[in-house]
Each structure stands twice: as C-alpha cells, then as structure tokens.
C-alpha cells in the first residue's frame, strides 16, 4: 500500500468518524444520564408550611387535612392564610401539612414583588436569613422574622428513579419543559428519598414562562450546565 493510498484510506476513515460523531454530537453530551423517560411536572402555587405553635396561634387548633398531595404524607389543609408584606397583601393562601419545626412560606418572585419582600431563591427548609412576612387569619396574626422564600425548582424522586435516571441526591440537572413555550431550566435540584414520588416542582413564574399545563412533562437533558455555552453536559 503506497503513501497516497494510505492517505486516502485514512481520510475516508476520518470522514466516516466525523460524520458519525457529528450526527451524535448533541446526544453525546448526556450519555450517562437517562434522557428518554418523562418526568411529571407539577406547578407549586404559593403556600405556607406552619409550625404547630403558629398553626395554633392562627387557627386555635392543629391543622385539618382535606386532601393528600402527590408526595406521600403531605396534605392540603382546610385552613388558609393571608400574607401581609410591606407593600401588599395576598389572600387565601394554601396551607400544607403536616406541621413543621419552623413555618415557611413559598411564593413566586411575582408574589414577592406584590408583597414588597425580597424573598431569596432557596431549597425548602433553608430559611436562615430569608425574608420576613406576616401571616394572618380571622383568629390571629403571626409575624415571621424569616421564612419567606422562592422555592428552587426541584425534582422529587425515589432511589429507584434516581438509579434509572443516573442521578444522585443534590445533583443539579437541566430539564427541558415541552410546553407551548419550550425552555430548558438549569440548576434543577434532585431530591432523592425512598418515599418520594417522581415529580418536578416549578413555581408559577416558571410555569407561565414554559406555557405549562398538566399535560406538560419534563425531559432530563443533562447533569450539569456549562457556563460557556449553556448546554447541558456531564
């Protein structure tokens, strides 16, 4: 085989490889994450979790369950609260049970602006130094020095789901929402617990931006988001 023939063979091989990899270039970034299965997407409307003491201060009694929620053990309560901020009021806010160690109110950035409160984007439970808010009912009033947050977008999944998707607790993933206004949300927190039911939770602003409806599902498109190009990589 002479030099020229070898050159031709090499070029042919390279062209083939380039073509093949070119076709796969978009998917090759996410090979060790399961990008095929859908994730149900639920819109979290504004809501409050109350400590038992705050529930009693507001309603004179512990919380009353009326409906189970998608995550096992969580329920919607009969009770509703009014949120009072320095600039505005939001009425008829859902209370979710069971009661927690500390009260926590989850709103969207839009809600926070209406209230006039600078609520930080936080993972549920991480309320240290977050915004204050006043809760009121027909029976009582409670001032929270902290506890008002915008909940970070997150996915609840069981240990089995995590294995299936190739992710672990506290991973940040990118998820494409296939609504009328498609988008890819980065920095979506993965929460794994054997009791969790697979569901992604977004807030009302995120839902509106995506054209969310109950039919919209999410697709994992990668484990980490590259700052350089904004696409999701492992």
């Amino acid at each position: 085989m002479n030099e020229k023939a070898l050159q031709e063979v090499l070029e042919g091989v390279i062209r083939g490889v380039v073509q093949q990899l070119g076709n796969q270039s978009v998917t090759s970034a996410t090979t060790d994450v399961n990008t095929e299965d859908s994730i149900p997407v639920e819109l979290s409307a504004r809501h409050a979790h109350l400590s038992e003491a705050d529930a009693i201060a507001l309603f004179g009694a512990p919380l009353t369950p009326v409906r189970e929620l998608s995550q096992p053990g969580q329920f919607l309560c009969k009770e509703r609260v009014r949120l009072i901020g320095p600039k505005g009021v939001i009425d008829n806010v859902a209370v979710l049970g069971p009661s927690r160690g500390s009260s926590q109110v989850e709103v969207s950035k839009t809600d926070a602006r209406i209230l006039g409160a600078d609520a930080p984007v936080r993972q549920s439970g991480d309320i240290n130094g977050s915004a204050g808010i006043i809760l009121a009912s027909q029976n009582g009033i409670v001032g929270l020095e902290e506890g008002l947050i915008v909940a970070s977008r997150h996915i609840h999944m069981s240990t089995e789901d995590a294995k299936r998707f190739g992710v672990a607790d506290n991973d940040l993933v990118c998820v494409r929402l296939e609504g009328d206004r498609p988008l890819i949300l980065e920095d979506v927190l993965v929460r794994v617990n054997e009791n969790f039911k697979l569901a992604m939770h977004i807030d009302a602003d995120e839902g509106n931006s995506a054209g969310w409806s109950k039919a919209v599902s999410g697709k994992l498109v990668g484990k980490k988001c590259g700052a350089a190009h904004g696409l999701c990589k492992n």
Copy 2:
C-alpha cells in the same frame, strides 16, 4: 507498512478524532452561529400600544411622549391606562408610542390570569383572534374585541448584528440567560431591521424565572431546538 501497522495507525487516528470531537461535541451543534457575543436583555413590563382613535377616545388628544425607549422611534407616553378584564383590573399600565393602526396590549401570563383573559402568546402585531380587553382612563373607555396578547420572546437586531450572529429575520433561536436562575429559552424570534438596536425582550414571568436583573445578558446557543433532546442544533 504491514496490515497490523496500518491497523494501529488507523486506530490511533480514530482515537484522536474521537477525542477531539468529543471535546467539541457541545459546541459542534452551533458552529455556524455566533455564540460568543452577549445580547442585552430587557424586561418588557405590561404595556399598551394605542391606535390614534383609541388614544383620542381615552385621553381626548394624541399621545404625549415623555421618554425614548431602546428601539429608535419608540417612546413611553405620559398617559396611563387601566385594564379591565372579566375577573380583575390592572391599573397604571404604560402606554407606548407612536400610535399604531390597531391597539394592542401586551401582558404576561400572570397578568392575563389576574384579568381573567385567555391571552395567546403572539408576535407583536399578530392580534387576529386574540383576547378582548377593556381600556379605561379618567376621561373615557374603549373596548377592544381583540388585541390582548402575551408577546413572544424576541430579539431586535440590525442587519449587521444578524450577519454577526449568523441568523436571519424570523429565525427561531435558543438563548441562555445567565441570571441567578439560569435557563435556556427556546423559540426566541429574531426580528431584523436596519433601524433596530440589539436587545432581547422577555416578559416579567420569563424575567422572574431567570432571576433577571439589568446585569443579565443573553447568549445565543443555537438556531433551532431539537424536540428529541431539547438541545439547540442548527
């Protein structure tokens, strides 16, 4: 060169190519689009464009400019309107000039829900069959049978910018917003006109979802978004 030596050379070459392309796999999807330069991102608050007849019905006179906007020839007016929908009212809504052939009101999905109107996501000017809304001022009232829309996210750019970014009028592109809550918006409409100044316009819901501030800019990450994996491809 014997068979085995040739085999080794080929394998070496293939490994090299695979490695090189592997490193580039994320960027290779977007090679003919300029993904480097930043795009200023402006948040479009709710606003109304009025026909001259509607301006006169509401204010008894043509619109009064008070401040130029980023797009040449566009201005904020002294006048403000109240939006009245079947379920709610939004006060103090900005009016932008100059007046247009038909009145058009641009709101977010959040606003539309407050008003109780089913405003479709549309490109500015495409109001055929969109939602109705009532406009009111202290002097008058105007009922629009159509004209209430949620404006599609879009980028204004000059002919030169379009050349620089490798895009054309009416292209749909994907843009990464590098805010506190990073995300990639798909289906961003490119509008090219020699008079346009480079600016991406998003609504308040999109801004909130991205953690938008005036410091946030956008990066083009591709020309078309693949339904299969949600990543941007050419």
